[in-house]
Amino acid sequence: MKTIVVACGGGVATSQTCAVKLADLLEKNGISPSEFRIEAININSMPQYEKVADIYVSICGEGEKEFDLPTFNGVPFITGMGAEEELQKILEEFRK
């Protein structure tokens, strides 16, 4: 079981939407729902998740604090632009 956290400034609208989409894409790529847990959080809660999460999907972008986790961009899952490419990177990390 791997934990993926998706964080944005509010922890609701954007990160939730991104999390739902990513979960759906992971399943479509043959990853069973029992293999992962995905959480949408407020960026301020990130320090609590840093130790327990395996993968961090950020919607906050550059200039924000970096965390000691493999980090990916969540924005492509909102716009669809570049989503396939970012998904492949996440899948690669997930299967490690």
Binding site: C8, G9, G10, V12, A13, T14, Q16, T17, V20, K21, I43, S58, I59, C60, G61, E62, G63, N73, G74, V75, F77, I78, T79, G80, M81, A83
Partner: protein
């Protein structure tokens, strides 16, 4: 749920000289009419500065400014088609500026309660067909129809 999207707060050909002015026009009206608290516009500006919301979608440059529900009295989505594009920083990439053509201003009171609709609305931003319809929607009435159908309200 029909109150979330209100025709009264949809604008076609909205004119504003800057992002701040746009927030004052759209958000200021929400404040004045009690939809939000008087702290909404200031909070919106601050949040946009810190976590920009410009989105480069496949067919339309969009921004979805929003802020903490503490500044909101009633949930409402205000939409504006801009007469002239207004620069916003890109979500996830502050260094990049997008000339935004359409704005979805979210005033959320209890986001959990509206999560499904919110997801459908944000889902529109990755749906090429819907984006095309939004681009072609010239009047507030048409914008309302496109969003109403796409969000399956």
């Amino acid at each position: 749920m029909e109150t979330l999207l209100r025709k009264d707060y949809i604008y076609d050909h909205l004119r504003a000289k800057s992002r701040d002015m746009l927030f004052e026009i759209m958000g200021g009206r929400l404040e004045k009419e009690g939809i939000t608290k008087n702290s909404y516009v200031a909070a919106l500006k601050e949040r946009e500065e810190k976590y920009p919301t410009g989105l480069h979608t496949d067919g339309l440059l969009i921004a979805m400014p929003h802020t903490d529900s503490a500044h909101v009295n009633e949930a409402c989505i205000s939409i504006a088609r801009l007469e002239n594009p207004i620069p916003f920083h890109e979500m996830g990439n502050k260094k990049n500026t997008l000339d935004v053509e359409m704005v979805f201003m979210l005033a959320l009171k209890d986001p959990e309660a509206h999560l499904k609709i919110l997801q459908k609305i944000i889902g529109m931003f990755s749906d090429r067909e819907v984006l095309k319809k939004l681009r072609e929607a010239e009047t507030a009435e048409k914008i309302y129809q496109v969003v109403y159908e796409a969000a399956d309200l």
